[in-house]
């Protein structure tokens, strides 16, 4: 009897190993994605983000009224403190110029998303290039490379030493008042963050055994950087990019709030709307509430998703 169970066991073991040996392997990216799908935080974040993205795309088309339509101008008297709140015709009420808040919110979503994405892209791409060059020089460039890295990093330190809002305000002051300015200002502030992150991550990977192994194989330096070091240094940068989308939206709103945003009334943006609402906060707090809640929820979505990504990509959880 014991013999039978033993052979059964062996049989089962063989089957188990057989199933494990067939099929393609699971790369770390795929495993991270699998973990991400299991995370509640990631799902909530993803739902919020996709709603926001859909809104940004279709918003201007489904908005019941035009952004500049002042059809109800005669009903709003800001000077006397008379405002119109939510009602059947205007779900979110009217703003101080008698425009439909709901339509403006829908149309503004696109601008808000664009500011977040473009600002983050500016920071990510520039930071990635600077950090990548610096990291590659420091890990494989020998003494000369270390010097190059040192110079680049001191420059980045200078950027980092400036208060981000001050830096953004000065850029906006130089370039004038427009949405592009806000994007660039917010993006530039992100550059040192991405550069330092990628460089640090590359330095950590540069000392790894597999990099040494690639060197001993005779792989060219450029290829070592591209195919060995960078793929392994990406995780924290990806996480940071997701989290940056949230901060970029908030910072863009802050800059708009300071009056540096796009003054064009035809292109509403949540941050600008918030600024305009603050003057009438005493009489019409709801006017500020809509854009504020919109910004908070989107930022929350990106933050939740970013945090979930961090957990999914964390190599310490690799089993």
């Amino acid at each position: 009897m014991s013999v039978a169970t033993k052979s059964e066991k062996i049989q089962r073991l063989a089957e188990l190993t057989a199933t494990k040996e067939t099929g393609t392997g699971a790369s770390l990216w795929r495993e991270a994605f699998r973990r991400l799908k299991r995370s509640k935080m990631a799902i909530i974040g993803a739902i919020i983000i996709s709603l926001f993205v859909v809104l940004a795309i279709v918003g201007p088309y489904i908005a019941p009224h035009a952004a500049t339509a002042q059809a109800w101008r005669g009903e709003v008297f800001p000077n006397r403190g008379e405002f119109v709140g939510p009602r059947g015709e205007n779900w979110f009420g009217l703003d101080h110029l008698g425009r439909d808040m709901f339509s403006r919110m829908l149309i503004g979503a696109r601008q808000t998303l664009l500011v977040g994405i473009i600002a983050t892209m500016i920071g990510l791409v520039t930071g990635f290039l600077i950090g990548g060059i610096s990291g590659a020089a420091a890990t494989l460039g020998g003494d000369a490379g270390k010097r190059i890295d040192s110079v680049i990093m001191r420059f980045i330190d200078m950027l980092l030493a400036m208060p981000s809002l001050l830096l953004a305000v000065s850029i906006a002051a130089i370039m004038g008042q427009s949405l592009t300015t806000v994007m660039i200002a917010v993006g530039v502030v992100q550059i040192p963050v991405f550069a330092r992150l990628l460089r640090g991550s590359m330095l950590a990977q540069g000392g790894a055994d597999y990099v040494l192994a690639a060197k001993s194989l005779g792989v060219r330096k450029r290829r070592i950087v591209v195919s060995q070091i960078i793929p392994n240094s990406l995780s924290p940068v990806i996480v940071q990019a997701t989290l940056s989308l949230a901060t970029a939206i908030i910072e863009a709103a802050a800059l708009s709030y300071l009056g540096l945003g796009n003054p064009d009334p035809a292109i509403p943006e949540w941050g600008v709307m918030l600024t305009q609402a603050q003057r009438f906060f005493d009489n019409a707090p709801l006017m500020a509430l809509y854009p504020a809640v919109g910004i908070i929820i989107t930022a929350l979505g990106f933050t939740l998703f970013g945090e979930a990504m961090r957990e999914a990509l964390d190599p310490k959880l690799r089993g």
Partner: protein, 417 residues
């Protein structure tokens, strides 16, 4: 002419300090003048305790670290003088197997990609199809299923990963493979498999190995010639059997005496040489013979001032000691306590610590506490031994040992104070 010849290889790492501009404040003498020859088809084993520079030496052969001085000649070409690009192409003939099987494989590449990396770099195989065929053949040769191709390193066991590491070296068809602690990260049962695989491959493909290890049993098993390193230089080199049968350098003697014997009776009675002090810092190596600060046979003259060369004492046995003959003949008595008598006479007191240390061949612990209680002549030498560098650490270890050996505990500290 030998396939691989190292002549006076030195690797010194600068110690740098400074805020804006680094300046060199000293050097770590990781490898300090090593000359050795590896014959084609042979296995050269390199042993030594942690920090003696054996890994650095292995890496310097591949020029993964910069060679400060000396030459590494492979088949008539001096690698130390090759320009970078030529060195890169030359690496095809010299491959390396690493200690950490997982760490040395890129976690984001699948096995096919890992194995084709080197082939692409050296233009082996016209296209991916051709390379895949070759990879499949080699995977089979090292005992991995061919469906491993699409899988990733973390999906394999330790032994399998090391096989992948070996396969990666083999696809380039090298002449020499440097194995840096190839089995020390593996389970004992897996170690045997990997060692056997290395031996089979050598027979089949006529490979030459330079095996770096601290496990004396493994090295003895696979090596034809063994070199013993201490603090950046070779102290002894001999054919494997000769070295184990009659070690001549005091350091080798101590190293060999740390290998446990499976027979408990022999284990109880066998002679053990316990060294005092720690390995001196390679940033500030002792003058003269590097070993004189810990050598039980150290003499007042010569040892501290003159650095001994490796001298052939017959039969390919080379020893770097001024007093090889005198020590062998028993003419010179140990000037420091060696622990030999203590081991033979006060058995009960020493069984415990001896067992604990036996597992760590490189742990050549201080012998202060093991001095025979009723040998005042030997005990008086203890303060002299305490002058060696790394003295506080030695004392700490000595006190630990005192606690473990009740008989010696009363006498040991008294002797040191």
């Amino acid at each position: 002419m030998s396939l691989l010849e190292l002549d006076g290889v030195k690797v010194h790492f600068p110690i740098k300090k400074g805020v804006l501009f680094d300046r060199t404040v000293g050097h770590v003498y990781a490898v300090d003048g090593v000359s050795l020859k590896v014959e084609a088809g042979e296995t050269y084993g390199l042993v030594g305790e942690s920090g003696c520079g054996k890994t650095t030496l292995g890496r310097s052969v591949l020029r993964l670290v910069d060679i400060t001085e000396g030459s590494v000649v492979l088949d008539g070409t001096d690698l130390a003088k090759l320009p970078n690009e030529e060195m890169r192409r030359f690496r095809r003939r010299l491959q390396m197997v690493f200690q950490d099987p997982l760490g040395s494989l890129n976690p984001r590449q699948n096995i096919e990609s890992i194995l084709s990396e080197g082939m692409v770099a050296h233009g082996i195989g016209k296209n991916q199809e051709e390379r895949r065929e070759k990879i499949k053949a080699i995977l089979e040769r090292v005992g991995l299923p061919s469906n491993a191709l699409a899988r990733y390193p973390h999906e394999f066991s330790g032994g399998q990963r090391q096989r992948i590491g070996i396969a990666r070296a083999l696809v380039l068809e090298p002449d020499v493979i440097i194995c840096d602690e190839p089995v020390s990260a593996l389970d004992v049962s897996i170690q045997a498999q990997v060692v056997n695989l290395l031996e089979e491959l050598q027979e089949e493909l006529g490979l030459t190995y330079l095996v770096i290890a601290h496990d004396l049993a493994v090295v003895r098993h696979i090596s034809d010639v063994i070199g013993v390193m201490y603090l950046g230089s070779l102290v002894e080199e001999a054919p494997s059997d000769t070295l184990y049968a009659e070690p001549k350098h005091p350091y080798t003697k101590a190293l060999m005496s740390a290998v446990p014997v499976p027979d408990p009776e022999v284990e109880d009675r066998r002679e053990r040489i316990l060294l005092t002090g720690d390995l001196p810092s390679p940033a500030n190596p002792p003058t003269g013979c590097r070993f004189h600060t810990r050598c039980p046979w150290a003499q007042a003259e010569k040892c501290a001032t003159e650095r001994p060369e490796l001298k052939d004492v017959g039969g390919g046995h080379r020893v770097a000691c001024h007093y090889t003959a005198e020590i062998a003949s028993g003419e010179l008595a140990p000037t420091r306590p060696t622990g030999i008598e203590a081991v033979t006479e006060t058995e009960d007191a020493l069984v415990k610590p001896a067992e604990g240390e036996a597992e760590v061949p490189a742990a050549l612990l201080p012998a202060d506490s093991t001095t025979k209680p009723d040998a005042p002549a030997v005990k008086e030498k203890v303060p002299a031994a305490a002058e060696t560098p790394g003295d506080p650490a030695a004392d700490a270890v000595a006190k630990d040992q005192d606690a473990a050996t009740p008989e010696a505990s009363g006498k040991g500290p008294a002797g040191t104070d």
